[in-house]
């Protein structure tokens, strides 16, 4: 093996890697299958998009005119149906003249939620703002004070109800889920069993049946003369349901915290609760942010099931607006698209927020 060393032939320089042309070459036509897929998708969009554009924009009717909508039937969307029905879809059966109240209450609640998610607002004023906004919310919604007309909870509806149900069930389910998750890892057999039974029972039935029980069976079990508002019962049902799923997500995080962390905390003399609060939960929850947000988004959309017990949240009030009106009923599909956009906007912002939380929390793990 005494052959003289021969240098390898020089290779061609790499192709230009910047600019739009290079991007198209590497991302869209990087290989044969990728090129074929690109062309197929472009073809599909070219075939499908013009029709959608025609329907949604070119031939669409934006005026709330039945005649115009009937004329465009089959060729164009009737956005006019939304213009006509938007108050009913958004506010449900809430009395028409009082609808500024749910609007103001919901805007206040949304402002509070946004502030709670923003770093600069994390101070003691936020802690004070919560009870203040909650009191204001219920005062505005139910009335009966400051000369506001009283509105019973079965008239609450639409987007305010959806937002209220999801906010409260998420806010209540989260601490409950943490306790249940801790309970399932407890050294006390009674607590462990209780928590496991709760999770298995609730997870083993559909939310619809939980809501039915909360709405129709629970009153039968109460002593005569005692009644709890149906909204409260339904809220409790959604909370208990969401918490069971969330508890399992949190438990996954708890299991991922190494035992050495708990031993180190114990060796420093921290009590059980101090260890959970300062050491275990911050690490466990940070690891399961995507799963937690998954649960939150599920709960948000699950609120649409309360329609079956005659609470008309966003989805329910869509039915209210279109089902009973023979003239506009054909245009319910446009209504569905409308609430889909609303649901999507909320879910997307939740999911974006969870991404922000993830990057924020991963900082301590950077080297």
């Amino acid at each position: 093996m005494a052959a003289a060393l021969e240098p390898l032939a020089a290779r061609a320089p790499p192709m230009r890697t910047g600019g739009p042309l290079a991007w198209i070459r590497t991302q869209l036509f990087g290989s044969w299958p990728s090129g074929v897929a690109t062309l197929a998708l472009v073809g599909l969009f070219a075939w499908w998009l013009p029709g959608l554009f025609d329907w949604a924009v070119l031939h669409a009717v934006t005026a709330p005119s039945l005649d115009a909508c009937r004329a465009a039937r089959g060729s164009g969307a009737c956005w006019g149906a939304i213009v006509e029905k938007h108050r009913l879809v958004i506010f449900g059966r809430y009395p028409f003249d009082e609808q500024w109240r749910p609007l103001a209450a919901t805007l206040a609640l949304l402002a509070l939620l946004t502030a709670s998610c923003t770093r600069v607002f994390w101070n003691r004023w936020l802690a004070l703002a919560w009870p203040a906004v909650l009191v204001a919310f219920f005062a505005l919604m139910s009335g009966g004070v400051f000369g506001l007309a009283s509105v019973p909870t079965d008239r609450w509806g639409g987007l305010p109800l959806t937002i209220m149900l999801s906010t409260f069930s998420v806010a209540l389910a989260f601490p409950l889920a943490v306790l249940v998750a801790l309970g399932r890892r407890s050294t006390l057999p009674a607590i462990r069993t209780l928590c496991a039974v709760y999770v298995e029972l609730v997870r083993g039935v559909p939310l619809v049946s939980v809501l039915f029980m909360a709405s129709f069976m629970f009153p039968l079990l109460m002593p005569p003369g005692v009644s709890i508002d149906v909204l409260l019962r339904v809220l409790a049902g959604i909370t208990l349901f969401g918490a069971a799923y969330l508890a399992e997500v949190v438990r996954g995080g708890l299991q991922a915290v190494p035992n050495g962390q708990i031993e180190a905390a114990a060796s420093l003399g921290l009590t059980y609760w101090q260890t959970q609060r300062k050491i275990v939960l911050p690490q466990a929850l940070a690891m399961v942010v995507p799963g937690i947000m998954n649960s939150f988004i599920s709960t948000f959309k699950d609120t649409s099931l309360v329609t079956i017990v005659s609470l008309y949240e966003l989805t329910g009030s869509l039915g209210l607006a279109f089902d009973s009106d023979a003239d506009w009923r054909p245009y319910k599909i446009e209504g569905y698209l409308f609430i889909a956009v609303i649901y999507f906007a909320f879910c997307l912002s939740m999911s974006r927020y969870s991404l922000w939380v993830e990057t924020h929390l991963s900082r301590s793990r950077e080297r």
Binding site: A265, S267, L268, R367
Partner: protein, 247 residues
């Protein structure tokens, strides 16, 4: 030996029903004594020192630490832990807290010390282990040796009377072992009671008052380091020493 700070009397422990991990342990540790525990893996040496701060429970016999008998009463365990600091093989620093927060956690939450005082004391301990400039970094940004020094400083923040070391250098790269041992040798010169599970025999020679050799859950041999290394009494000890010193 009058007034031992740690006293094991006929202590027995089993893992599950079958594995007898500590057998009739009798051990008295004097105040300020520095003990090195060695032995093959599975011999029960880690379990022995983990019993001292209640990370493991014994099932038979008496174990008294600084006048407090360890029972299944949570309060006795919490009182003992105030007096005992521990350093682990895997450091076990809290990755979500900065170095300084790792150190001030127990002073603030266990000893109810004002934050300012806890910070000052933590910085003092960090200077002691020569790592004060890293106070505001997160543990995972430090090298293994630095992390273990932070762990030692953390254990010292509550001014314990006893320090337990559970194989403190076993997870370290060779060139980082020395910086940790230097800190431990310095500490040994300051009169604190130390029990150290380690196979660093150079360290043992330098600081130990007494060597303990364990095998199969029993204390096989106890001796001064010089006697222990030059004239081991039992065959088992000779065999073990020839394996770890043989190359």
């Amino acid at each position: 030996m009058s007034d031992p700070i740690v006293a094991f009397e006929k202590v027995n422990k089993w893992y599950g029903n079958r594995f007898h991990v500590l057998r009739d342990i009798d051990l008295r540790v004097a105040r300020g004594e520095r003990i090195v525990v060695c032995g093959p893996s599975g011999s029960g040496k880690s379990t022995l020192i983990r019993c001292i701060n209640g990370l493991e429970e014994h099932q038979q016999g008496r174990l008294v630490v600084d006048g407090i008998e360890l029972t299944d009463d949570v309060r006795s365990i919490e009182r003992v832990r105030r007096e005992v600091g521990m350093v682990f093989q895997q450091f076990n620093l809290f990755p979500h807290l900065t170095v300084l927060e790792n150190l001030t956690l127990a002073p603030i939450w266990v000893a109810r010390m004002p934050k300012k005082e806890a910070d000052e004391r933590a910085m003092q301990q960090l200077r002691r282990v020569r790592i004060a400039e890293q106070a505001h970094k997160y543990p995972l940004q430090l090298s293994g040796g630095q992390q273990q020094r932070v762990a030692i400083a953390r254990a010292l923040c509550l001014t314990p009377k006893i320090m337990l070391f559970d194989e403190p250098t076993s997870a370290l790269d060779p060139e980082m072992i020395k910086e940790v041992l230097d800190v431990m040798i310095e500490l040994a010169g300051q009169g604190i009671t130390m029990l150290c599970v380690t196979h660093e025999m150079g360290f043992a020679r330098a600081v130990a008052d007494r060597m303990i050799f364990m095998d199969q859950g029993q204390i096989v041999e106890e001796n001064t380091p010089s006697e222990f290394f030059s004239h081991p009494k039992s065959e088992r000890t000779r065999d073990f020493l020839s394996k770890i010193l043989g190359h």
